[in-house]
Every structure is written in structure tokens, then in C-alpha cells.
């Protein structure tokens, strides 16, 4: 932990590997590590960024990251990519898209494959954030592809959740997953350059009216900005929006409330993980599970009754 705190990237990287490991002994070690990290955490601004592949997240993050570093911050980027195929490993090309940022001394970029157990690596992103904070990073950007479950999970562990979409004439809006508008604290219509300026304006208007139908908090209604990552001014504007929100929620005490609520979520997720872990590690219950699965498939027993049996078995341990 001392080494992580001193800013040693090697140790930080190794610690993240430990968190992501599927081995039980590593899990125990990471628990200790996260406990230690907690004391030193909480000081960063945690921003989740999502959007479909090709929306330009990486280019945006590179531009934003460079701006933040030039303003004197240390920036960590965690890239979660759930879109890899089930059978093989992942190809992680994030750094190829953040070439300039990856060269910066005050940047730390860590792409994570999803080939872990139980809900994938996204689950471990929360712990990774804490380690990055302990290592002194002022801003933690979490990049996630807008497919699967990861964006929902990520939105529940950040202070600000930014949703990026491509300019278009309306189809994009329909293609957005239900609920994503509720998760967003801010939205950006990206790649607004050249031919797309006009359609970006249309998209923006549609989003604004769609968002107006949602319940917003008394002091924050989700803004929609247009942005070109080739234009630093646009990116600074997005950051100003995030900063404004952060200041507001900090002052109102909502930031603390939000993080406290996230901690409850975290706890629940851990309980779930531990319980399922226990079920799977007990050979008696494991074979019972297999048996019951077959019975449920054959309609010999209701899922409800089967679940009751398993919980009972757990009680008897």
C-alpha cells in the first residue's frame, strides 16, 4: 500500500490484477488491500463515460485527459470492454486510441478484459477506483461500451455519468436503450464536426425534449451538449458542465448521499457474491444444485421450491 501511495504504477497495476483475479486466495488479499485503500480514498471525481462503439469515447477521453493534466491533475482511465467474444480472450486496443495521453507521466490507463467470473470485471471497477484514489489520482474516468450490463453497473459507482451519442436524424434516439436517459447526468452529441453539425443540432433538440419528460432534481436538469473532440473548447465545455454539477452536489450534500447509497449497493453486491461463492464452494450444495436444475428443467419441481431447498441446505451448514 505504501508503494501504491507513493505513485508506483507497477504496484498499482499489480494490485488491480489481484482485484480482477478469480482465485480465492487473491480475493482474500484484495479484501485486505481495499480495506487499507478505503482510508485514503474518496478524494477523486469519478466520471463514467458510455456510448456505442464508434461514438468517439476514446478520442474524447484523450482530449479531456490531456486538458486535465495540463491543468495540474492526475488522471486515471479505466476502460471496461464487455464486447469481447465469449470463447476467446479480448483484444484491448484502448491505448492505440489514447496515444498522446498514454505517454503522459500523470496519466494511468488500464483496460480490463471481461473474462473474469461472476458479472465480469465491471464488478471490480469499484475497487479499482479506490486504489486509483489511494494512488493519488484526482480524476478517475471509467470508459464503458454501451452494450450489456456494464453501463448500468458503472453508473452506480460514479459521481457523474456521461452518455455520448452520435449525431443523427432521430434513429439514434430510438436506438438508445430504455433507462439510459434516467442514468445520465449529462449527455454529449459527439463527432459534431464538418457535415454533421446540422444533424447534431437536431439530435440535441430531440434529446432535450425527451429528457424534459423525465423527473429531474430541483437544481439539475440533464444538459445536452454538442462536441467535437478535435475542438478543445468543446471538450472544456463538457468538463465545465461536470465541474458545475460536482460543485452543486458537493454543496448540497447530495454527493455524500450518492456515495453512501453506492456503498450500500456495493455491500449488497459483495454479500451476493460471497453467498454465491459459498454455494459454489460447497460440494454438497453444488451437487444438490445440479440435481435441482435437472428437476426444474423436467418440471418436476417449481423453481420456488428448489430455491427454498438450497437456502435450507445453506442454513444446515
Amino acid at each position: 500500500m505504501t508503494s501504491i501511495r507513493s505513485g508506483n504504477k507497477r504496484t498499482l497495476a499489480k494490485a488491480i490484477t489481484l482485484l480482477e483475479s478469480s482465485l480465492d486466495e487473491h480475493k482474500e488479499q484484495s479484501r485486505v488491500l481495499v480495506d487499507e485503500a478505503l482510508v485514503h480514498s474518496g478524494k477523486s471525481l469519478r466520471v463514467g463515460i458510455t456510448g456505442v462503439p464508434g461514438v468517439g469515447k476514446s478520442t474524447f477521453i484523450e482530449c479531456l485527459g490531456l486538458y486535465l493534466i495540463n491543468s495540474g491533475f492526475k488522471v486515471a482511465v479505466l476502460a471496461v470492454d464487455p464486447s469481447s467474444p465469449v470463447t476467446g480472450g479480448s483484444i484491448l486496443g484502448d491505448k492505440t486510441r489514447m496515444e498522446m495521453l498514454s505517454r503522459e507521466e500523470n496519466a494511468f490507463i488500464r483496460p480490463s478484459p471481461t473474462s473474469g467470473s461472476l458479472g465480469g470485471v465491471a464488478q471490480k471497477t469499484r475497487e479499482t477506483i479506490l486504489l486509483c484514489e489511494a494512488a493519488g489520482y484526482d480524476v478517475v474516468l471509467i470508459e464503458t461500451v454501451g452494450v450489456g450490463q456494464s453501463e448500468y453497473l458503472v453508473s452506480k459507482m460514479v459521481d457523474f455519468f456521461l452518455v455520448m451519442i452520435l449525431p443523427g436524424a432521430g434513429d439514434e434516439l430510438q436506438g438508445l436503450k430504455k433507462g439510459i436517459l434516467e442514468l445520465a447526468d449529462g449527455m454529449v452529441v459527439n463527432k459534431c464536426d464538418g457535415d454533421t453539425v446540422q444533424s447534431a443540432g437536431v439530435s440535441k433538440q430531440q434529446l432535450v425534449s425527451a429528457l424534459s419528460l423525465l423527473n429531474q432534481s430541483e437544481y439539475w436538469s440533464t444538459p445536452v451538449l454538442t462536441c467535437s473532440s478535435f475542438n478543445e473548447k468543446d471538450v472544456i465545455q463538457v468538463w465545465a458542465m461536470i465541474g458545475e454539477y460536482f460543485d452543486l452536489v458537493k454543496a448540497s450534500g447530495d454527493l455524500r448521499k450518492r456515495r453512501n447509497k453506492q456503498n450500500i449497493n456495493w455491500m449488497n453486491a459483495l454479500i451476493e457474491e460471497a453467498l454465491i461463492g459459498r454455494l459454489n464452494s460447497n460440494s454438497k450444495i453444488k451437487s444438490l444444485l445440479l440435481e435441482l436444475e435437472t428437476s426444474v428443467k423436467k418440471l418436476e419441481i417449481t423453481p420456488y421450491a428448489a430455491a427454498t431447498q438450497v437456502v435450507q441446505a445453506l442454513d444446515e451448514l
Binding site: K9, T17, P85, I91, L92, G93, R97, G116
Partner: protein, 719 residues
């Protein structure tokens, strides 16, 4: 038993089918139909019926649509130009080589530049320390150019320059060198490759983004059509696509689509089609698929004629596709290298039957390094033998009228038309490139092809079949990169100390302003700057200030390679080993595949990445053109088990030790370093001594490499 057929009638196709069936012991002849990489069905027999519907059957050489050749008499009148591409580290060494080639029967000079020059960096730039003088000659200013062409009469000898990124300063440097030799611009003849579009798809030796790059091309075409009427302003190249794994149809389609885009660019710059179209030339790669390559070249001339006709030229020369060809480097093997002489001969014959205007034949050691003198001589003699010892040159388009060849010509043309249609509907090639589609298509073809070779479905003698137990050591040309760099740096210092700095600064500022405003001609100003002894880097920077430096959008395909191995025993075995690894380590083996230095050939790295991911590794990719220091940092941050270095440009000896040093300094000695690509055998021991764990030459099947890497990582982690 006698056949009861009427003997006065000639035998029919059905008769043949019947007989064939007997000879195949009852199986259908349809089983002999094979599907080519292009997706064309090749039949065992072609007949009259295959050519009946073809529109071009009775065309003539030298006349539209030029299927049968660009000229009426072709090689019967005069054979093709023997043009061997070469560049050796320094201008002095290259100059000596060119003079020797010219006296030995070579008919033109073809210059290969080093990667630093390609990418617009001077030799003293910190990002290119490993690249100077590797894979070609290092050129920093007019002074180097003058040495390069010393005693070569530029009004008589045509010069071909493979340059795409730093086209402006290099072309201007050549012009000024000639000027100082006393040769005026209008007497210069030769070609500059200047084909930037394909750089964005393969090879990656660009500097600026597509849009300003196209403006540069417009300015060059405009200037040259006015001042240098004998100079070919662009050589639209399919060669590098084929080298990157594209099949012949992709190569044909994308190259012609590039050509169409250049026409549009020049027209937009205010020229008329006849001002420049006669000075456009093409460049094909010629691989081992003999018939298909000949068909490709014939189809290309027909398609190009049709494309140019749309723009309504008055000069018939505008619609004629003239081409240079080079035998395939991909087809060469490191194992059993003397086989390469035979391969090159067959490919050279395909190029000749296809009707090329000039030809480069690869040297047998080209899969490993720059050609040695011995290898270069054999390569040159291969062409001389075809020209002078055989009667091949005596007949124009000898394949004309062959049922098979005419039919294949039409089929590959059809395939290409389909692919070109897709590009057109994306708004032309420049737009299509932005979507990344063409690059992805080529990479997909490359992964498929690699899988076919690795599985032995496509045979390479001495590599995946009939493997020789004896190893032939081929002597390889050695380049002392440090020494070249030092002498270049000294010359740079000298130039900078003796030139008129004030005058130069003025011109460079004008150049920046011209880039910004779009007014004026960039080449014209660059010539002025080069006269005043500007360096390549200074000219490039003057424009980079406005244009910016382009960065590749890395996209990767997955699943393509693994698909070919569905159900394969060895493949499943490796997957199982990886499962075991996960159980022990808590995660998949993780490898960083990286490209260091200015080497932009990323096919190998991409294919390895996709194949390793398919078999179960987590694969990180480094940005292109990384330094060893940057790669070491990426390895640490991503916490990988292995760094795989892909090297094709000969800079492994300086960059790999540097990487290992950096890893050590970051306390990450246990990260396994492996190297793949073009590495001469004689360098193996040195790299191993530095701490490289294994080296994979061209032709290593990827599953074999994956298994070996796994073994090493397992060993490291358990110790």
C-alpha cells in the same frame, strides 16, 4: 468397348465429363472445382462456352479497352524496363549500388528510403533513433540527395522514388539535386509513388490526415503537369495491399478506387483529365496464383479504361493503365531460402504475361533483410534470362484467346466491380477510409489467408510441407545503424551552420501560411526551401503546424482466424492449457503486441493479435510508432505477462535491447519478451543474450507460437 458415337462429330463437353468421371472412379468432376481466395470458382476445364458471352473477345493490343496490352507491339517491339528497388542506409552506399546496377543491365533507378525519411523526421529526431538507415537510405536534405544521384545523369536515367508521406521535401530535393547537376525540370523522367490513400489502409507511412494529404497530391499533380511533363506524378499501388494480405480482387478494386479518387482530386484542383491522366501509373504485387495474377492485370486495364472514359478524355493515352510490378515479398520464405529464386521466377513470368511496363524481382533474402549483392544479382538476372534466353517476348499477349484466361479476366473484373461499388456508395475512397471499412476488409482477408497457410490448406514448400532438415545460412547484409545516424547528424549540423537561416525561415513561414490558407502551391514553396538547404523534418514540421499529424484508428477483427480451426485437435489442446492457466493464475495469459519505431507494417501484429485472442489470450495493442520506453510503460500499466514485438524493418537490434532495459528499470524483469517478424538468423543469438525468450520468423504457424509462449510464461510464473 468401342464408343458408339458418331466419329464425324467433334467430342463435346459431355463426352469429356463422362470420361473424366470414369477416370475419377465414379466421382463427379465438380469436385475438381476449387474456390480461390477471391471467391472465384476455378474449373478444371474451360471451353468455348465460357467465352461466348464476353464482350471483349476480339480486342487488339494498344487499342481500347487495352485488355491485350498498352501498346500494339508490346515486348516484341521493346521489352519491359528492369527496375530494381533498392536503398542502402547511406546515400553513398546507395549511389554505388545504383551505378553498379546500371552498368550490369539495370535500366532505371528505384530508391527505397528509410522510415524516418518516410515519416518526415530528420535523422536526429529522438523518435527515430532505431530507424535511421534501416530498410532504405536516410535522406535529410539536398546534400544527401546530391550524393545519392552523384554521376547518375538525371536527364537520361529515370528515377522511381517510393515516397508517400514526405513526398514534398523528397520530390523537391530530387528536383533541386538535378537542377544543381545542370538538368532542368522538364527533362526529368521517373515516378514518385505519392499514393497516400493506400497508406491509410496498409503500411501506415503517412504524416498528415487524409484531407490535407489529398491537397498535397493535388498540388504535386498541378505543378508537375505544368513543369515536369515526363514525370509520373503518382504510382497507384496495389502491391502493399497484397503484401498486407489482400486477395487479388481486393487489390484490384481498391487500387482502382484509389485511382478514381485521385482523378477527382486533380479535377477539383482545376486540371482537365488530359492534363494529368497520361502521367498516372499503377503498381501491382504479383503473387503465386499464376493464372489469377495474369487475369488481374488484364482486367485492370479494361476497368481503368472504363473508369477514365467516364471523365471524357480527348487524349487516348489518358485511359491507358501503365503499370510497374513487383514480385511478392509475402510469398518468400525464410526457411529454405533458395526456393525463393524459383518463386520469384514464376511470379516474374506472370507479370510479363500480364503485360507489365517495368518489373522488380525480389532478391532471395528479401524475406530476411535488405538484399545482399549476390542475391540482388540473381534477382536482376532472372529478368534478363526471361527477356533474352526465352522466346517469351516475341508474342504479344500470348494468353489472349485462352478460354480459361478470358473467362478469369471477366470474373475477377466482376468481383472488383462489386467491391468498387461498395466504395463508391460510401462516397469514394477518401470517405470510405474514414469508416475503416477497407482496412478491415484487408485485415480479414489476411487473417483468413494466414489460417489457411498455418493449417496447410495453402502449401508453401519448405515452410508447411516438405520441410528441409538442413538449414541454409544465407549471408545477410548488416547495417550499423548507430554509425549511419551519427554521420547523418554531423551532416545536419554542418548544413544548419552554413545556410542562410533568415532566408530559409521566411520561406518556411510562407509554407506554413500556404498550408493554412490553401492559396499557392506547396511543392513550389518546398522547392524554394530545399534550395536554401531546409531539412526534410523542417519542411514537414512547417506543414504539420497546420495539418497536424495523423493517428491511425486501430480496429481489429476477431473470430476470423479461430473459425478456420473449428474442431482442430491442437487448437483445442492450447485452449485447454489456457483453461489450466486461468485456474492457476486467476486470469488469462495477457500479451501486449507492439510495434516500435517508424515501422508501419502492422499486418503481422494484427494477425497475431486476432489469432492469440481467438485461442484465449487477452491481447493488448500498443499504439503504432511507439518508443521502447512507451511500450515498457504500457506493459506495466496493463500488467501483461508477455510483450510481443513485431519487427519488419530491421530495427530490432537497437529497439529490443532498449525495451528490455526499460522493463528492468521499471522493476519488471519477469515480463517475457518475444520477437516476431523479419529477423536474420545471425541476430538470434544476440537477441537471446539480451534476454529475449523466443523469436518467431516468417512462416511460424501461430498455434505453434502460442503453445510455445504459454510454456515459457508458465515456466516463469511457477519459478
Amino acid at each position: 468397348m468401342e464408343s458408339p458415337k458418331d466419329k464425324s462429330k467433334p467430342p463435346s463437353l459431355d463426352d469429356w465429363k463422362e470420361l473424366a468421371k470414369v477416370q475419377m472412379k465414379g466421382r463427379s468432376v465438380d469436385e475438381l472445382v476449387t474456390e480461390s481466395g477471391e471467391g472465384i470458382l476455378v474449373k478444371p476445364l474451360y471451353t468455348q462456352s465460357d467465352v461466348e458471352d464476353l464482350s471483349f473477345r476480339d480486342s487488339m493490343p494498344g487499342l481500347p479497352p487495352y485488355i491485350r496490352g498498352t501498346q500494339a507491339t508490346m515486348y516484341a517491339g521493346r521489352p519491359w524496363t528492369i527496375r530494381q528497388y533498392a536503398g542502402f542506409s547511406t546515400a553513398e552506399a546507395s549511389n554505388a549500388f545504383y551505378k553498379k546496377t546500371l552498368s550490369g543491365g539495370g535500366q532505371g533507378v528505384s530508391v527505397a528510403f528509410d522510415l524516418a525519411t518516410h515519416r518526415g523526421y530528420d535523422s536526429d529526431h529522438p523518435r527515430v533513433s532505431g530507424d535511421v538507415g534501416k530498410a532504405g537510405v536516410a535522406i535529410d536534405s539536398v546534400e544527401d540527395m546530391k550524393i545519392l544521384f552523384d554521376e547518375i545523369p538525371l536527364d537520361k536515367i529515370s528515377v522511381s522514388m517510393t515516397m508517400n508521406g514526405a513526398v514534398l521535401p523528397v520530390l523537391a530535393g530530387y528536383i533541386v539535386a538535378a537542377e544543381e547537376q545542370g538538368v532542368p525540370q522538364e527533362n526529368l523522367s521517373g515516378t514518385i509513388q505519392n499514393d497516400i490513400l493506400k497508406e491509410f489502409m496498409v503500411r501506415n507511412t503517412y504524416i498528415y490526415p487524409p484531407e490535407p494529404s489529398m491537397r498535397i497530391i493535388g498540388d504535386i499533380i498541378t505543378y508537375c503537369s505544368r513543369e515536369m511533363p515526363r514525370f509520373n506524378t503518382i504510382s497507384i499501388s496495389g502491391y502493399h495491399m497484397q503484401e498486407a494480405g489482400a486477395d487479388s480482387a481486393l487489390e484490384l478494386a481498391y487500387t482502382l478506387a484509389d485511382g478514381k479518387e485521385y482523378i477527382r482530386t486533380a479535377l477539383k484542383a482545376g486540371l482537365s483529365i488530359d492534363d494529368f491522366a497520361p502521367r498516372l501509373s499503377f503498381f501491382w504485387g504479383i503473387g503465386m496464383n499464376f493464372y489469377m495474377e495474369i487475369a488481374k492485370m488484364r482486367a485492370a486495364r479494361m476497368l481503368w479504361n472504363n473508369i477514365v472514359e467516364e471523365f471524357q478524355p480527348n487524349n487516348p493515352k489518358s485511359a491507358i493503365l501503365r503499370t510497374h510490378c513487383q514480385t511478392s515479398g509475402w510469398s518468400l520464405s525464410e526457411q529454405d531460402p533458395y526456393n525463393n529464386v524459383v518463386r520469384t521466377t514464376i511470379e516474374a513470368m506472370a507479370a510479363v504475361f500480364g503485360g507489365t511496363q517495368s518489373l522488380h524481382t525480389n532478391a532471395l533474402d528479401e524475406a530476411i533483410a535488405l538484399p545482399s549483392e549476390f542475391a540482388a544479382r540473381i534477382a536482376r538476372n532472372t529478368q534478363l534470362i526471361i527477356q533474352e534466353e526465352t522466346a517469351i517476348t516475341e508474342v504479344v499477349d500470348p494468353w489472349g484467346g485462352s478460354y480459361m484466361m478470358e473467362s478469369l479476366t471477366q470474373q475477377i473484373a466482376n468481383k472488383a466491380l462489386e467491391l468498387m461499388e461498395e466504395i463508391e456508395s460510401a462516397g469514394g475512397m477518401a470517405k470510405a477510409i474514414e469508416t475503416g471499412l477497407p482496412k478491415l476488409r484487408i485485415e480479414e482477408a489476411a487473417a483468413k489467408k494466414q489460417a489457411r497457410i498455418d493449417r496447410g490448406d495453402e502449401v508453401i514448400v519448405g515452410v508447411n510441407k516438405y520441410i528441409s532438415t538442413e538449414e541454409d545460412e544465407v549471408e545477410v547484409l548488416e547495417i550499423d545503424n548507430e554509425q549511419v545516424r551519427e554521420s547523418q547528424i554531423n551532416r545536419l549540423k554542418e548544413i544548419k551552420a552554413t545556410r542562410n537561416q533568415k532566408a530559409l525561415d521566411d520561406v518556411l513561414n510562407k509554407l506554413t501560411a500556404c498550408a493554412e490558407s490553401g492559396e499557392g502551391n506547396l511543392l513550389e514553396l518546398t522547392i524554394e526551401a530545399m534550395r536554401l538547404r531546409a531539412t526534410i523534418g523542417e519542411v514537414s514540421d512547417a506543414m504539420e503546424n497546420v495539418f497536424g499529424r495523423y493517428r491511425a484508428q486501430t480496429q481489429t477483427v476477431t473470430g476470423v482466424y479461430g473459425e478456420a480451426y473449428q474442431g482442430d485437435q491442437d487448437w483445442m489442446e492450447i485452449k485447454k492449457i489456457i483453461e489450466g492457466f486461468i485456474d492457476r493464475e486467476g486470469r488469462r495469459p495477457r500479451i501486449l503486441v507492439c510495434k516500435m519505431g517508424q515501422d508501419g507494417h502492422d499486418r503481422g501484429a494484427k494477425v497475431v493479435a486476432t489469432a492469440f485472442a481467438d485461442v484465449g489470450f487477452d491481447v493488448d495493442l500498443s499504439p503504432m510508432f511507439s518508443t521502447p520506453e512507451e511500450v515498457a510503460r504500457q506493459a506495466i500499466e496493463n500488467d501483461v505477462h508477455i510483450v510481443g514485438v513485431s519487427s519488419l524493418a530491421g530495427s530490432h537490434k537497437s529497439l529490443v535491447p532498449e525495451l528490455i532495459k526499460e522493463l528492468k528499470s521499471l522493476d519488471a524483469e519477469e515480463v517475457v519478451v518475444i520477437v516476431g517478424g523479419v529477423i536474420p538468423k545471425q541476430d538470434y543469438q544476440q537477441l537471446l543474450d539480451y534476454g529475449v525468450k523466443c523469436i518467431f520468423g516468417p512462416g511460424t504457424p501461430i498455434p505453434k507460437a502460442a503453445a510455445e509462449v504459454l510454456e515459457i510464461v508458465t515456466g516463469v510464473n511457477s519459478s
